[in-house]
């Protein structure tokens, strides 16, 4: 090491000692995991939770899954015809299972679900001693929905959700149609209320 133009002998040795001593006086970075639960970041991909009531057995998740690790069984149920109507059929979910020994946590099933039946849960303590026990049925998947956190607030200046944007646009269009010739268009109040 050099201090100015002078090379100080042994300065490097002292610097090495200083680094270790400084590290010792700081708090260590170790997480005491089993004793202290870790603070996971938002959107942690721990396990996939299923809201069974929302599932329509559309099979999109099972078909999009790159690992084919989602198993779905269902049957059709006939709803008796109401007064003056005709009878309808609907799908009833018999089995929904995810094999977490195959799952690669890509989250495509959750992205693709049109009915908000699948969610990421940060829960990660579901290790098993046997790989065959990693296939979790719908009752277990349903239990994990309780651990799904509310979505984190949007980042500042983030784009608003598509649904909200569409609603605002529709409202604005309706206002313009009603005001017709009026030159001034007041900005909609909804614009300031970010989601």
């Amino acid at each position: 090491m050099r201090i100015g133009p002078i090379k100080v002998p042994g300065a490097g040795l002292a610097k090495g000692l200083a680094v270790t001593m400084r590290t010792m006086t700081k708090r260590s970075v170790t997480d005491q995991y089993p004793d202290v639960k870790p603070e996971l970041p938002p959107r942690s991909r721990g396990v996939i939770a299923l809201v069974e009531e929302n599932c329509t057995v559309c099979m999109l998740c099972a078909r999009e899954c790159p690992d084919w690790c989602i198993y779905i069984d269902s049957h059709k149920e006939t709803i008796p015809a109401p007064e003056g109507g005709r009878e309808r059929q609907r799908n009833v979910l018999d089995r929904f299972a995810i094999d977490f020994s195959l799952c690669m946590y890509c989250g495509i099933c959750i992205e693709v679900c049109p009915f908000d039946a699948l969610f990421w849960s940060p829960e990660f303590e579901y290790a098993e001693f046997d790989i065959r026990n990693m296939t979790h049925e719908k009752d277990r998947l349903q239990q994990w929905t309780a651990t799904v956190p509310p979505p984190p607030p949007a980042d500042p200046h983030a784009q608003r959700p598509k649904e909200l944007e569409a609603a605002v646009k529709a409202a604005e269009k309706a206002r313009v149609d009603r005001g017709s010739a009026a030159a001034q268009v007041t900005p909609p109040a909804a614009k300031d209320e970010s989601a």
Partner: protein, 320 residues
Amino acid sequence: MSLVDVLEVALRIVLVLGAFLVLPLLVGQTEHKAMAHMQSRLGPMYAGGFHGWAQLVADGVKFAQKEDIVPAAADRTVFKLAPAVALIPYLVVLVAIPVGPGLVAQDLDAGLFFVLAVMGIGVLGALMAGWASANKFSLLGGLRTAAQLMAYELPFILAAASVAMAAGTLSLPGIVNAWEPWWLIWQLPGAVVFFVAGLAELQRPPFDMPVADSEIIFGAFTEYTGLRFALFLLAEYAGIVVLCALTTVLFLGGWHGPYDEALGWLWTLLKTMALAFVVIWLRVSYPRLREDQLQRLAWKGLVPLALAQLALTGVVAVVV
């Protein structure tokens, strides 16, 4: 010899044995925790409940349970004897180290000579282990130990000789009695040489070429298991205690300090433990020296420095 004398000798032996069994474990535990925190870790946290204080006890129990294996091609007698040869000299050295004024298990007239001679034997344990194991890694480790011993014994003894010259005595309590605070400056190069050479004799990092695990597994101790292996590890930590105690006695004034009539033993212990911490600190901070760097440091660095210290001590001792 009356009964009182016998009891007194027994008490002294028990005290020395107690220190021999407790202090190395204390250093080992300090190493666990200090090294961990220097690397931003926590170290053992579970054994014993409070911050892993019983980790080394648990390690000892584990080692005691393991199978004691002697390789088929090994020289059985030497192989089995080696751990004792490595460990016992440090126990013997502790007998001669003064802890407080008049507080020494055995006051020897030629204490310094005795201590240096016996400490040299400790290294023989590693040499025997390396030779008797019938393993090429053990042999390499043993030979490296031998080379290191050859190189570092000389500056080690020269530095110690400088203090003996300054104090005009070979008795360890005599040296501490003659010690004065300004010796800290006067004997500083000698102290550094003594401490560094001692580290190298103990094969502590950064001088751990003989046990370099990334190259030769664990050097001379490769074939050892169970209790015999534990004894080698204990010998390493006992060696640290002995080296630090000796450096304290020779260069840091032993029991000298405030209220040293009553608290002398505490000062010796504190200085020893502070030095032991430095040993750990050096281990964490520096990478291992290569074999050629090791030899160069000894012959081109420490030996000339020790000789210069010897000359300085001679001149000052004559003038003062």
